[in-house]
Symmetry: C2
Subunit: 740 residues, 2 copies
């Protein structure tokens, strides 16, 4: 910005406000994505995966702008830059791929592109055949001005612009114009010209996590039920025997409800009875007895040694162990004796038992996070519990009912653990109102349980998935789609039969990068407590051995789904989703695609567990072209034209697809494909689209100069040998090693 | 917040982060409305009009919360408080009515409502018939604790809580319970108890302006055309003669294109020809000649004296004058000689002429705001131009093409003028991409031209009005619906005939608080330059006398619309809009209602200027109940139930309505009203809904205790005389005169 020159100033007094206004941003940069609550919380990313960045960037008048992302991992000094592309209507897009996990930060920079503005005008006049002598003279002056700006620089670029300025001074108008219109000169000028009205946004953060944070397939079981003899208490060694089968189904996370000693006082009996029989094992959520608390292992499971054997064995199958972190205590938990100051006592000397309305947990009491004596000793003790399991090699925690504990507690605990163990993963098991569900994700939970279990109709699923993949949550909320849990026996599955289990598995495994199965689901178990969304003879209160090869199971489909998920990156996230027309309210049909379109799937799932359904599946020929920029939209007095510009897309005539469950290949053309879905066979299909030869990547990078680059020779060929110009040196805004 | 008590702390080291976390907000307050770009810009309000405030407020667990707005005018020391009501799903609403213009500020406060939580639990147990002895004892202890908190206070509330605690100590359980459940005790406890976990947001701003900022009806004319003899140049005295007719049509703002001397160099001839005939008057937008610049009046209009006579005469008709502020200069403007340093000169000694693609203005040159010599002298000179007209009594400026001048310039200029003249109004005449349109409103423009002129179909109008009235813009963008301008002869009106003019007048006058007509519209003028959206023989380039009583005019309808607008507050804003079903894509049907529902209109407008259309108009019986809170939504494991709770609304069986254009009254019942719209008669109808007796206002204030208050005696009657309790003293969070 030029400094104020008061020599022409004739008023008595220069208002201070006008001097401030002169230095304020001329370029507006708004609606940056990803951004969570205006930067208050970090967005989420996955290592080696594209993070899309968008912003609305504009300035008064008609001058061209240029813009870039500047980004880095916070513990790396060097900044990277990625140019943004204008998509029309002032929206600019690009993205970056973080190569390491940990916190990243980025800002948007935009500036007035003086050479781009000049060249565009010259091109237009040239094309319109009007006189350009004045513009050519202005070009000579502009090159000279940029050369003068760089007169003391020693770079090869600076030498080249000086040579160019000298050459233009002696060249005739025709040759000067030819040179002024080349891409090479454009690049040189853009690299060297001052970035006028440069505007830089505040830094925004992206928390980049390991792959399993966004893509994993969970299997949940009660270790005590992994027994070969009815009634005996299963051990971790019994779980080791189950690992081959779990691995064969394709699951890579094995999650257990709490594995700690279980209290005896007010222990629940079978079927949630208030009184337990002597041999009832109790709910594992009633944590703690004289045998120990949250850092102990239930003796009947084999103790810590058996746990260590299991962890090592699971690792051999590439299966990670996830533990349950449930803060509550049974009345027999050692903490009640050792730390009475962590609890809120009633006038009769009791502690209020836990409730999560309408549920009552008479065998459980809660700590009081803000009791005077709990600050901070309780908080630190709970952190130490998690740390003790991390020290045992556990890096994944499913957190029980986090919405009934303070948000600042979780924010601190997760940040504390991750400061030493960036690969730690926390799954929020909150089923509550949307604001709290989302807040838990904002403050640090890696993954979140969702309303998926209750979304059954096409409209419900479509609305919810659009909210998760395209609404505000897309930047920070990673949905984990459990098809069932020990607490939720979905009404749909109680009556759907096997077809319904196939449908729910298919929906969860294809719509979300994270999905989970509580054991029994693969056997199509669904017998409820009548009228309730609970399992009859709930495994929470009794040991429940199963025949893992029972007929009618869907182990084959689950194994196929997990195999297809591993082979197709588009299924490793809930993003990249687009719903398509099926002509049938009972058939959900959508595409999943990676950001670079290197993996594109078309998926159709019948929602009807009983009857066959037919569908007319839209053939989305434009699907592979969606990432091309819309044509540059001209400003226009006609509002309608301004904000409804159509994209110019290359024509694709047919899709070559392969159905991945059945192994068929075929060619789709025309507007629709007619298809049948039979719940007695397989009520779904997954087609992978074979990619046609794409246009050159270069034309995507520089949409403004696409036409130009196709019809001109490289600048180097046009210049005499001593004039060769390269733009290899970029005028980096952020010098290496300098922090903003 | 209780301070940390380290006595029970057993770890070696207390991490600093946990001590910070202990003091961090337990209560989340998010998605506050109104808020523009997270508080970067003020929202807009109108004096004496309700400003709705909403926020999402939640905390871990199941305790009750309480929340309020604290607000004030920034130049008033005292803060006001307004309680927020929970509408379900953690959304809280209320609002405030500013009583003066100028900047206001507000924050949201929320805290844990200990007594509300306690009372709710006691009530539930009482209703369920379970034992409550323990809860009653806890109530005695809680009252005692609150009394102890207030032991040193001298207020009557403090005395009362002390008396209550003493009384409860001796009362039996039954009488204690009765007292603990009263509203009076609830109010007393809420007033006296500490506000635990109190959370207060940052302050947000609302710029409150005078009524005309949001509600006025504009009439635009070229003063030079107000001539009785064809060809002679009209004067401001001729305009005075037109005032009675303009007033009779109901317009209250009279707006002129620039009234300054017009340049001769490159003057445009009739029909935008590049060469002017000797007697062509030129475009008034080519501002400046040797007779003066932006602060001068064209001599042929009668000079400044005639202008002053007009302004005084208009004032007698309650008509305000609005002037055009167009920054550009003709090549003859005195500034080119006096301040060459304000312009950007080309190598041949010329200045680039102005363009607003695709339009070219060969008779106009632009200043260069960032020329070295223009900082800040040009900026101040332009401010001084506006100030000079303010000094002449002009308070409304229509700003020409503000999007081609720097945003910081306007932000400063408008703030500068309004710091001395808070009643100044600036209308942004920007027709460009949406981001810039909205940005101009954010930085201070009072009102904005819109895309309305190009929105013709039901879908286009519905989408656009929903965006303006319910989307982000609702907080800061006041749309001004011009039906035509000297620059825009809408295609629709070129062929629609009289019916189309009626339709466009009706849409603008009922959908927006601000609407405008460029003279000739009322005569249904629409002859275009063939194929263009411009008027043939444009008044911009020639003097154009008219027969103001030409047959076929729609002066009657315009007068009626403006009368109805004045009589119905619901039409004095674009807000309070709801689209309703008409069963016909050619009939737009909607309701407009004030925030307090004291004025509710139903409006149907046929969009077909040629054919009659019939419609089945939805009878919106629930319309008058829309402001009632939804029932309190209970947390629930079933996601579907959590976020889709229906409101309980009182049943209304019929609507008594009066059609305001025709004066008919009738009763609507059933689901639909069948109606015909004839463009040869009147293609619209406006019904005012007569209001039924509303429920008592009190029940709206305190939805949580509605049932309770209906069935209990006032507390005062239940207490012995010496026990009387009043809650007149509120525990004000912000003491009078204290700034946050």
């Amino acid at each position: 910005m030029t400094s104020v020159n008061p020599q022409n100033f004739t008023n008595d007094q220069v208002p201070a406000a006008v001097l401030a206004a002169l230095t304020e941003a001329r370029i507006a940069i708004e609606h940056i994505s990803p951004s969570v609550d205006g930067g208050r919380f970090p967005a989420k990313g996955i290592v080696d995966q594209h993070i899309p960045v968008e912003a609305t960037i504009f300035m008064d008048g008609h001058d061209h702008l240029a813009a870039q992302i500047v980004w880095r991992a916070v513990d790396v000094e060097q900044w990277n830059t990625t140019p943004l592309r204008a998509m029309g209507n002032d929206r600019w897009v690009a993205g970056f791929i973080p190569e390491q996990s940990g916190m990243h930060e980025f800002a948007i920079e935009a500036w007035s592109d003086r050479w781009g503005t000049y060249r565009d005008e010259l091109e237009k006049k040239e094309r319109a055949g009007v006189a350009t002598a004045l513009e050519i003279q202005e070009g000579r002056i502009l090159v000279r001005a940029i050369a003068d700006q760089n007169v003391s620089a020693k770079s090869s670029n600076a030498r080249q612009v000086y040579q160019l300025a000298r050459q233009l001074a002696s060249a005739n108008d025709e040759r000067t114009k030819m040179l002024l219109l080349t891409d090479g000169v454009h690049e040189l000028m853009s690299a060297l010209d001052e970035r006028r009205f440069l505007q830089r946004t505040e830094l925004l953060r992206v928390d980049v996590e390991r792959t399993a944070a966004g893509f994993s397939s969970w299997y949940e079981l009660f270790p005590r039920s992994q027994t070969r003899a009815d009634g005996t208490h299963g051990t971790f060694d019994d779980v080791i025997a189950r690992l081959p089968a779990i691995h064969a189904m394709g699951f890579d996370v094995l999650y257990f409800p709490p594995i700690h000693p279980i209290g005896r006082t007010h222990r629940k009996g079978r079927d949630n009875q208030l009184t337990a029989a002597p041999d009832d094992p109790g709910s594992p959520y009633a944590i703690g007895s004289e045998e120990g608390g949250h850092d102990a292992v239930h003796p009947d499971l084999g103790g810590i040694d058996a746990f260590r054997r299991l962890r090592a064995a699971a690792s051999d199958y590439d299966i990670e162990i996830a533990l349950d972190f449930a803060v509550q205590c049974s009345p027999d938990h050692p903490w009640l004796q050792q730390h009475p100051e962590w609890f809120s006592w009633r006038p009769d000397g009791s502690i209020r038992y836990a409730e999560n309305p309408p549920k009552k947990y008479e065998d459980i009491v809660n700590v009081d996070f803000y009791a005077e004596g709990a600050q901070p000793s309780l908080w630190v003790a709970l952190r130490d519990v998690v740390q003790s399991w991390v020290d045992e090699g556990v890096k994944i925690f499913r957190v029980d009912n986090p919405h009934t504990k303070p948000l600042p507690f979780w924010q601190w605990l997760i940040a504390d653990i991750r400061s030493r163990h960036p690969d730690a993963i926390f799954l929020a098991e909150a089923f509550t109102r949307p604001a709290m569900m989302y807040e838990l994700a904002k403050i640090g939970f890696t993954q979140s349980y969702t309303y998926f279990t209750w979304r059954k109709t096409k409209e419900e699923l479509t609305d919810y998935l659009i909210e998760l993949s395209s609404g505000e949550p897309r930047d920070f909320f990673r949905p984990h789609f459990f098809v069932n849990t020990p607490d939720i026996n979905p009404y749909f599955l109680q009556t759907s039969g096997r077809g319904g289990f196939q449908i729910r598995a298919a929906l969860a495994a294809t719509l979300s990068g994270l999905w989970g199965v509580y054991s029994g689901f693969e056997l199509c178990e669904g017998e409820p407590v009548p009228g309730k969304e609970e399992y009859l003879h709930s495994e929470k209160y009794e040991i429940k051995p199963r025949d893992w090869n029972a007929p009618g199971n869907i182990i084959g489909l689950i194994s196929s789904l997990n195999r297809i998920r591993k082979e197709n990156a588009a299924l490793q996230t809930h993003l990249g989703l687009k719903f398509l027309g099926s002509g049938n309210d009972q058939v959900l049909y959508f595409s999943k695609a990676t950001a670079d379109r290197s993996n594109v799937l078309l998926i159709a799932i019948s929602l009807d567990p009983k009857q066959s359904q037919e569908a007319y599946l839209e053939v989305p020929l434009q699907l592979l072209a969606d990432d091309l920029p819309a044509r540059d939209i001209k400003e226009d007095l006609h509002g309608a034209a301004i904000d409804t510009a159509a994209a110019e897309k290359p024509a694709i005539q047919e899709l070559h697809v392969e159905e991945l469950l059945r192994g068929q290949t075929m060619i789709w053309s025309g507007a629709y494909q007619h298809w049948y879905f039979d719940p007695n066979e397989l009520p779904l299909a997954i087609w992978r689209v074979a990619l046609p030869q794409k246009n050159s990547a270069a034309s995507h990078q520089e949409p403004h100069h696409e036409q130009q680059s196709d019809r001109e020779e490289p600048l180097a060929k046009q210049l005499a040998p001593q004039e060769k110009i390269s733009a290899s040196e970029t005028n980096s805004t952020l010098p290496r090693g300098e922090k903003i």
